[in-house]
Amino acid sequence: MNSQTSSFKKIILYGLLIILSLIILLPFFWMMSSSLKTSQDVFSVPMHWLPEQVNWKNFSDIWTKIPLLLFFKNSFKLAIIITLLQVLTSSFAAYPFAKMKFPGRDFIFLCYVATIAVPWQVYMIPQFILIRKMHLADTHLSLILMQAFTAFGVFLIRQAYLGIPTELSEAARIDGLSEFGIYQKIMLPLSKPAIATLVIFSFVNVWNDYMGPMIYLNSNELKTIQLGLRMFITQYSADYNLIMAAALISLIPVGSLFLSMQRFFIEGVATSGLKG
């Protein structure tokens, strides 16, 4: 293959990639553009790709029209607490599964793995009944308790621990390091990529979760950003410009997390996906 045809091929490929990207990004572009329009301009005929007049006021109006800041705080609170608990308890539980021998290990692990195959939608009803019996319905604690102890997290971290040579932990044990010491000084530092993946998955899942909060949260002051946005849509269905502004803002936390740590996102999908 000579260099001319390969550079020609490259131009075609880049052209194709750019066109595909524009198509894929079009809804985001439309969201941005509409969020800066006036409510009449959103549905103007003929349509405008860009706002006639840039209406920054939308971005200040949304905070007063609905308690958007409160919804943000609720989502952040849930995402941070659940992620912390997930990482802490999964990285803990994964250690004996990967590096210790004790009776019942394989059976318990089998229980964990088997539940990964059961969709949450299958057992969400008994779970709801149980949580309501504990008088936890319509609290943030309900969502924290049901999402903080996932089998997926344990499975993911265990995979990472298994990749760490057993000789390393054996040697440390002979040198007198306690099990906690091995966990803290060997396992955790050597499984950073898996932990980063879990942090990201958990944060994104909680932030984007819609059905869980919809089932459990009734009070407005407890609602998460997704529920709040949904409420906004039904209350202000005429003001699409405001809805778009709120939607755009709701994408920022996860969007910036994704852009700054996209390597972990993509590697996480590739490894946990294929090995899982």
């Binding site: 990639l17 595909l20 990207s21 894929i24 990004l25 809804p27 985001f28 439309w30 969201m31 509409s34 549905f43 005929v45 349509m47 802490l88 308890t89 999964s90 803990f92 539980a93 004996p96 210790m100 004790f102 009776p103 229980c111 964990y112 539940t115 195959a117 969709p119 939608q121 299958v122 057992y123 969400m124 009803i125 008994p126 779970q127 009944i129 149980l130 949580i131 308790l145 102890f149 996932t150 089998a151 099990e179 984007n208 819609y210 059905m211 919809m214 849509i233 778009m244 939607a247 755009l248 709701s250 994408l251 969007g255 994704f258 996102f265 993509i266 999908v269 590739a270 996906g273 294929l274």
Partner: protein, 312 residues
């Protein structure tokens, strides 16, 4: 070996085995200390509900009156329940289109991206982004794009000379296709990553050897890429089909199951039955059907995988 040595050996051995069991108990206690924080939460909030879900499907319960055991009544009722049949049909309809189209789109994107070129990672990031974007925000902008009277999509269609473009989410016939389009757009980037790592695992020598033998790029794709990708393809098809049967958010935000029951899918039906109508027993029976379907898909696809997948 004299007696003295022999004594030491026995005592040493016995002493050893005592410390061994002590060590074992200590070890086990340690293991459970590590396990406990997660295990307790997992038992209470995942395992117990899973075990209970089956029992609940044989009960009748509205949460106000006492629970009544009704045997197979709930499952019998499914046979005559139109909403259930429609929701099952809608889910199948959604999956039949979403699964192959998403796979084709994901594979296509992965093949384009599987090149050594500058800046390729930027495109990978762009294609993946819809997958992380939260669904409510996505659903509402697509609703705007597909707005029946004033949306940009219909504006463009009218401009292209189509006088009466479809009403999309407000039309019984077109609401589901809209859901399918948005769903493909949202998830193809995710499966693209899986395909991409599948593609990268194919040894380069195979392509070089085929080139030497004079195979053109279509032949190389047909005889190397596709067969070598079968494990990925099977994995993706299982994941995707299961994901399709669990669809809820998209439907809930974009069409709320409507118009009429046109986009009422299985999980939407479970949600309504349980959390709107408070028929917990009956809703559990529907979720058992969901579980059986998911389980069957997994088993069938793993069986088929053994038969068809070529691992070289």
């Amino acid at each position: 070996m004299d007696l003295e040595d022999f004594k030491i050996l026995i005592e040493g051995g016995a002493g050893n085995s005592i410390t061994m069991t002590k060590q074992k108990v200590k070890n086990m206690a340690m293991a459970y200390i590590f396990l406990l924080p997660n295990l307790v939460g997992f038992l209470i909030f995942t395992l117990i509900p899973i075990v209970c879900s089956m029992g609940l499907s044989f009960m009748e319960w509205d949460s106000a009156n006492p629970m009544v055991f009704v045997g197979f009544e709930n499952f019998k009722r499914l046979w005559t329940d139109d909403t259930f049949k429609i929701s099952l049909w809608n889910t199948v309809y959604y999956s039949v289109f979403t699964v192959p189209l998403t796979m084709a789109a994901a594979l296509g994107l992965a093949i384009i991206l599987n090149q050594k070129m500058k800046g390729i990672n930027i495109f990978r990031t762009i294609f993946f982004f819809p997958h992380v974007a939260s669904l409510v925000a996505i659903a509402v902008v697509w609703n705007l794009l597909f707005h029946p009277t004033l949306g940009p999509v219909n504006n463009i269609l009218r401009f292209l000379g189509i006088a009466n473009p479809p009403g999309w989410t407000s039309s019984v016939d077109w609401a589901m296709p809209v859901i399918i389009i948005v769903s493909i757009w949202k998830s193809m980037g995710y499966y693209m990553i899986l395909y991409l790592s599948g593609l990268q695992a194919i040894p380069r020598e195979l392509y070089e050897a085929a080139k030497v033998d004079g195979a053109n790029s279509f032949q190389r794709f047909k005889s190397i890429t596709l067969p070598m990708l079968t494990p990925t393809t099977f994995f993706v098809s299982i994941m995707l089909t299961i994901a399709c049967f669990k669809v809820f958010d998209l439907v809930s935000v974009m069409t709320n199951g409507g118009p009429g029951r046109a986009t009422n899918v299985l999980v939407f039906n479970i949600y309504n039955t349980a959390f709107i109508n408070y028929e917990f027993g009956y809703a559990s029976a529907i979720s058992m059907i969901l579980f059986i379907i998911v389980l069957a898909i997994t088993i069938v696809q793993f069986r088929a995988e053994k038969k068809w997948v070529s691992y070289m």
